[in-house]
């Protein structure tokens, strides 16, 4: 069969050679594109712009799944609803109790800060968001949520769920945005060990149930079970949010640093609902009540 697209090149290379030459050209092009995407930002910019244009497509494709979900919610039985409701009530009661003590603690903290003339405390407001899809590429740790620029989402915004840090917003579109998970091998999260206050950086490993702290000194006081929280350095993630729990500490005398493995709290591979930390407001310290002598 005559190849319609080969015009001039086949004269020199022959039919087969021309095709191989074209293959080589396309492979080269693909490799250049991939390395540009990996290293630089131009391709990523172009990609995110094009993705904005494709937002309706994603909506269209996601429609059957969301319709199915609505249907199953419609038809879920009375018993499950009652059980769910009861469980939620209990949970609410527990959290309400916790919040009560928290409020008192917060007041106390503010008073102490005032006494010490320390900086202001912080208060957060959250924006609720739902995951609409997970990126198909199993190697990219990225999910999409149903909030975008219209709701005031911005790139770099911290994303948490009920248990811990999930990731940060990467690309923002009109009605949706993408979130880079903390398990991405390219993601670094400034953290500290809650018990000792040791500051370090948590890197993703590519597995959703494991983070790595590669820069912990050998003699540092770290042991399995220690809680890791965000340190707030780097101004992206607010301080004090739980990240995970130390699972394993490898101390090899031949190396400079211990390798500390952390199991993240957040349901990176299961959760569907997340919270965006919307705004950090400074809380004025409450003056301590003046005690009469």
């Amino acid at each position: 069969m005559a190849n319609t697209e080969s015009s001039g090149s086949s004269r020199w290379f022959g039919e087969e050679g021309a095709r191989t030459a074209r293959l080589m050209m396309y492979i080269l092009l693909a490799v250049v594109l991939m390395s540009m995407d990996q290293r630089g930002h131009y391709v990523a910019k172009i990609r995110s712009t094009v993705q904005v244009a494709f937002e309706p497509v994603f909506f269209l494709v996601g429609w059957p799944a969301s319709a199915l979900r609505t249907l199953s919610e419609q038809f879920s039985s009375r018993q499950t609803l009652i059980a769910d409701n009861r469980q939620l009530q209990q949970q609410l009661l527990k959290t309400a109790a916790a919040v009560q003590t928290q409020a008192a603690l917060g007041q106390e903290n503010q008073r102490l800060r005032h006494l010490l003339q320390a900086t202001h405390g912080r208060a957060y407001t959250f924006l609720f968001a739902e995951m609409i899809r997970v990126d198909l590429d199993p190697f990219s740790h990225k999910v999409w949520i149903d909030r975008g620029a219209k709701e005031g989402v911005f790139a770099g915004q911290a994303v948490i769920d009920g248990l811990g840090i999930v990731g940060q917003v990467e690309d923002v579109m009109g009605n949706s945005s993408s979130v880079r998970l903390i398990s991405d091998p390219d993601h670094a999260l400034p953290v500290q060990i809650n018990r000792t206050g040791l500051r370090t950086v948590a890197y993703g490993t590519g597995k959703t149930d494991l983070l790595l702290l590669p820069n912990v000194p050998l003699q540092a006081d770290v042991s399995p079970g220690d809680m890791i929280v965000t340190s707030g350095l780097g101004d992206r993630f607010p301080p004090g949010f739980p990240v995970g729990e130390v699972e394993q500490v490898q101390r090899d005398g031949g190396e400079t640093f211990a390798r500390v493995y952390v199991r993240p709290f957040a349901a990176l591979d299961r959760g569907r609902e997340v919270l965006l930390i919307e705004r950090v407001t400074k809380v004025e310290p409450v003056p301590a009540p003046v005690e009469e002598p």
């Binding site: 069969m1 005559a2 190849n3 319609t4 697209e5 087969e16 095709r19 074209r22 293959l23 396309y26 492979i27 092009l29 693909a30 490799v31 250049v32 594109l33 991939m34 540009m36 995407d37 990996q38 391709v43 990609r47 094009v50 993705q51 494709f54 497509v57 994603f58 269209l60 494709v61 996601g62 059957p64 799944a65 899809r133 997970v134 990126d135 198909l136 590429d137 199993p138 190697f139 990219s140 990225k142 993408s178 091998p185 490993t205 590519g206 597995k207 299961r270």
Partner: protein, 160 residues
């Protein structure tokens, strides 16, 4: 020619449908089993019509898939270009294979494609995938005969 234009539009439609199908959100359990729809459709068309899919087109389709699925730009483009090249290279032999042998060679193409992808991810320094990574070619091959018949009938209808 009119018939070729019609079958060309059928081809484009099926490719777009395959792309949408691969974007379809699935329950968590089914995700690792998702067949490589676009590759199957592209293999069919380049096997059956030869000249209608050229390398440039495979490249463009791959880029589109990269944009939609959020993978590294050029990854699917590379994979589809290599696939179309191999099909074109061995087309005359593949076409006269009995169906089961043809299915086996499609499996070979898909496994080869997985090897290329694993090579790229290794270069990127990503962790090695689990054994589930090798499931989609097997699922795809189970779907292949049915897809083949479906696309054949679509093409015949367009020609009529």
């Amino acid at each position: 020619m009119n018939t070729s234009r019609e079958s060309r539009s059928v081809m484009l439609l099926t490719i777009v449908a395959a792309m949408l199908l691969s974007l379809l959100p699935l329950p968590e359990i089914l995700v690792p089993l998702k067949p490589y729809w676009v590759a199957l459709v592209i293999i069919y068309w380049s096997l059956e019509t030869g000249g209608m899919i050229n390398l440039g087109m495979a490249f463009l389709v791959g880029l589109g898939l990269d944009i939609l699925s959020g993978s590294l730009m050029g990854m699917h483009a590379l994979s589809l270009v290599v696939m179309v090249f191999l099909v074109q290279r061995f087309r005359y032999r593949l076409r006269f294979f009995p169906p089961w042998q043809q299915a086996l060679s499609v499996l070979g193409l898909l496994v080869n494609d997985r090897i290329i992808l694993i090579w790229i991810t290794a270069l990127l320094g990503e962790p090695m995938p689990t054994w589930q990574y090798w499931l989609p070619p097997l699922i795809s091959i189970a779907i292949w005969p049915w897809l083949f018949l479906l696309l054949d009938s679509l093409r015949a209808r367009a020609r009529r």
